[in-house]
């Protein structure tokens, strides 16, 4: 099990280890009994008679009631922890999480947006309000022992309070299509000061247009597009700019700034030949600076 990073995780681990031990003991009881009886009562000669025992009420009652008690105990213990998981603290730091086919985007109260990586302060409850743009995803953090499906059409919530600084892996746990296994993200838990400083600054401060484009590519587009000319999900970007592109409806068009810009904001308008219309729209998610950065970045790919 990955090291637990929240108090709740350590409680879940305690319950899990009890369950593990109880399972191990009961399996050993059954398997031990099985092998012992098998060895002891092996058939010695052809017509060896066996005892005629049909049932034993007290024994049968015991091995029904005792498992029942254990199950009820474990159920109640689970209930207590489950209630803590679902009881959202009132004063938590709220982060809006948006799941979209094959990447995660995090938006903070002050409008700061970051994709693929969420930075949060240590020892403070954080509440995620999650929504999905297309299909069901599931925000899963093994280190916090937490998971919550992100259902399109409504909000689902999840809360945790990390107690150690560090970087924790996030998976998508509900099958959501081609790149389901690539839909990963990171949670960086930092000190309060670092967090305030990170929250305030502009992510692209001091970066040139091409570097901004490269940063946007590495967080949003890398899932489906290669920098070579090889196809991944979408077409590769090598010497794309300024060259003829053949579209699905047979016509060809020059890949200039407007073509790239339109493909970002309204991808289904011009679909390249041989590709499914699988690209979601990024309208409203990339601001003007990021789109211009992407265009510059693509220009450099010769």
């Amino acid at each position: 099990m990955p090291p637990e990073a929240t108090d709740l995780a350590s409680k879940v681990d305690a319950l899990y280890s009890f369950l593990l031990w109880a399972s191990f003991i009961s399996t050993m009881l059954v398997v031990g009994g099985l092998t012992y009886f098998a060895i002891k009562y092996k058939r010695t000669d052809k017509n060896q008679k066996s005892a005629y025992i049909t049932h034993n009420n007290t024994l049968e009652f015991l091995w029904s009631f005792i498992p029942f008690l254990i199950f009820m105990g474990v159920f109640a213990w689970g209930w207590v922890l489950f209630h803590d998981m679902r009881n959202m603290p009132a004063d938590a730091l709220e982060v809006a999480v948006q799941g979209q086919q094959w990447d995660w985007t995090f938006t903070y109260k002050n409008g700061r947006r970051s994709s693929g990586e969420m930075v949060i302060p240590v020892n403070q409850p954080v509440k995620l309000v999650m929504a999905s743009k297309d299909v069901i995803h599931s925000f899963y953090i093994p280190a916090f022992r937490l998971k919550q499906d992100v259902v399109p059409g409504r909000y689902t919530t999840l809360w945790f309070q990390p107690k150690y600084k560090g970087e924790y892996q996030v998976f998508c746990a509900e099958f959501c299509g081609r790149q389901h296994s690539g839909m990963l993200a990171k949670i960086k838990v930092v000190s309060q000061e670092e967090f305030d400083e990170w929250l305030g600054n502009d992510p692209y401060k001091g970066l040139s247009m091409v570097e901004v484009g490269h940063k946007v590519y590495s967080t949003r587009c890398v899932i489906c597009h290669n920098l070579t000319d090889k196809k991944l999900v979408g077409p590769g970007w090598k010497d794309l700019f300024g060259h003829q592109v053949e579209l699905a409806d047979g016509s060809t068009v020059v890949a200039d700034e407007n073509y790239i810009r339109e493909s970002i904001l309204n991808p289904n308008a011009k679909i390249v030949k041989g590709f499914p219309p699988a690209m979601p729209t990024f309208a409203g998610q990339l601001d003007e600076q990021e789109i211009m950065g992407l265009v510059e970045f693509i220009k450099t790919l010769k």
Binding site: W79, H83, R86
Partner: protein, 103 residues
């Protein structure tokens, strides 16, 4: 050996006619009941009347009254599991938004 010979009880003709008129009356009743706006109660009343009609169709037209009880058990099992499916799904949907504190 003919089926009729053993005590296979056959429902008399006039009870079929009686059930038919009862069903007609109940249909009219349910239509009339729908005119008054009783809010939430409309559905309950409509379902009640429909269930009475269903009882008549089941008991007389489908001979459940005279046949052996296994058929009735079949029908009740089917309806019971439907209610279970409905109950658990509805409990889920109506307790979803606000988390009621159950501890």
């Amino acid at each position: 050996m003919s089926l009729k010979s053993e005590e296979h009880h056959i429902i008399p003709l006039k009870s079929f006619i009686g059930v038919f008129f009862a069903l007609l009356f109940l249909t009219v009743l349910t239509v009339v009941a729908a005119q008054f706006n009783m809010g939430e109660w409309n559905t309950v009343v409509a379902m009640l009347i429909a269930s009475i009609k269903a009882f008549f169709v089941l008991a007389y037209f489908m001979h459940l009254k005279v046949d052996d009880k296994v058929f009735l058990v079949c029908f009740l099992l089917a309806v019971f599991f439907l209610i279970v499916m409905y109950a658990f799904s509805v409990v889920d949907i109506y307790t979803r938004v606000g988390v009621s504190n159950i501890l």
